[in-house]
């Protein structure tokens, strides 16, 4: 009896764990705060001394920072990277740490006992704080990774798409940027092709909006599924199964964070290049960057 556990139910909406002053605090919101505090602590201790020649923890933080910075510079060039990196970097590190919470012990397994479920199953309240038997499927967990909540990923996707639009407006001006979507000029000047181009503009607008959904659901789906896989394999093959799946989840966390950040970056770059000379400027800049890096690599290898 003591060694019997039951698989918890997976619910998509997060559970409310506290309601101070009538304001619902969900377990994913609590973990969002934990993630933010963790990031602040890491950045604080990583940049406290700021030696010219970094060592130890400072070196590690700089390695992570520079890795993402170089990736951004490689995609859009140095000039635009200066504008885009703050947002893209924050997306990457927030998503990464939020995803990585998934593999910590205690996530999804520490929490209140759901009294309504206990009553519904005609059981007495559990005797001790260590649960066993039927009680193990009646937990309201205190901690749940933020990105397993659609609200968090949806908010991130909204920020990503809205900021992309703002960059588009700032870089091209309202007329040219809106002209990408509402091609009234082409409608009347391009003859037969006019209506087609107008229609293409509307299509462009729809793809822009549907990107909110694709960003939100990809991150949410991958991490929620990952969290479910970890829980299921902990029950199917106790102790051994997750030797495979925890490294796999670490990999998925990294890849999903990277994909979210890089897609934001790519679409921002698309938004700030006008269609007439799409690809010209940024490619030229990226090319110079590439040649520069190649030369530097050659110089260091000799």
């Amino acid at each position: 009896m003591f060694l019997q556990w039951r698989l918890q139910s997976f619910n998509i909406p997060p559970d409310v764990i506290f309601t101070p002053f009538g304001f619902s605090i969900t377990n994913t919101l609590l973990c969002t705060w934990i993630t933010l505090v963790l990031l602040v602590i890491i950045i604080y201790f990583g940049t406290r001394k700021r030696n010219i020649i970094p060592s130890g923890f400072q070196n590690f933080v700089e390695w992570g920072y520079e890795g993402i910075l170089n990736l951004v510079v490689g995609v859009v060039g140095r000039e635009k990277a200066r504008r885009f990196f703050p947002l893209v970097g924050v997306f990457f590190f927030f998503a990464l740490f939020a995803n990585l919470l998934d593999i910590l012990p205690g996530i999804d397994t520490i929490g209140w006992v759901d009294q309504s479920k206990v009553l519904a199953a005609h059981l007495n309240p559990p005797g001790s704080f260590l649960l066993s038997g039927a009680y193990t499927s009646m937990i309201i967990p205190w901690f749940r990774p933020p990105t397993t909540d659609l609200n968090v990923t949806f908010a991130m996707a909204l920020i990503s798409v809205i900021v992309t639009q703002i960059f588009g407006f700032v870089a091209l001006g309202a007329g040219q940027h809106l002209g990408k979507y509402f091609k009234f000029k082409e409608l009347f000047t391009n003859g037969v092709q006019g209506p087609i181009e107008f229609f293409v503009g509307i299509i462009e607008l729809i793809t822009e909006i549907s990107r909110v959904l694709s960003f939100a659901f990809r991150l949410f789906g991958n991490i929620f599924a990952g969290s479910a896989v970890l829980a299921v394999f902990a029950f199917l093959v106790p102790a051994l199964g997750n030797i495979i799946f925890i490294p796999f989840e670490i990999f998925v966390s990294l890849v999903q964070a990277l994909i979210f950040a890089l897609l934001t970056l790519v679409f921002m770059e698309m938004a700030v290049t006008s269609q007439e000379h799409a690809a010209d400027e940024s490619e030229h800049e990226a090319e110079e960057e590439y040649v520069h890096n190649e030369e530097k690599e050659l110089a260091t290898s000799h």
């Binding site: 990736l71 490689g74 995609v75 293409v200 299509i203 462009e204 729809i206 793809t207 549907s210 959904l213 694709s214 659901f217 990809r218 990277l258 994909i259 890089l262 897609l263 970056l265 790519v266 698309m270 799409a278 690809a279 490619e283 990226a286 090319e287 960057e289 590439y290």
Partner: protein
């Protein structure tokens, strides 16, 4: 012809991940909107099919736009 820098591997992989969603989400939105309109107008599946067609066009065009930067 100037030499283009190879697109970054991770950037390209990220775009690959976006491809499926680019095609699927307009289709789903079109189907949902179409069936909603069918419910209002009591047509059988006229708007559903129109919505699916529109979603397909948007999806294919979106996929083309996504990868046109590589051609």
């Amino acid at each position: 012809m100037k030499k283009k820098p190879p697109p970054s591997v991770w950037g390209s992989l990220a775009l690959m991940g976006q491809l499926g969603f680019t095609i699927a989400i307009p289709l789903a939105l079109g189907a949902w909107g179409g069936s909603y309109l069918d419910g209002i107008t009591h047509t059988k599946s006229l708007y559903l099919l129109l919505g699916l067609l529109l979603g397909l066009i948007v999806g294919v065009y979106g996929a083309y736009r996504l990868f046109s930067r590589f051609f």
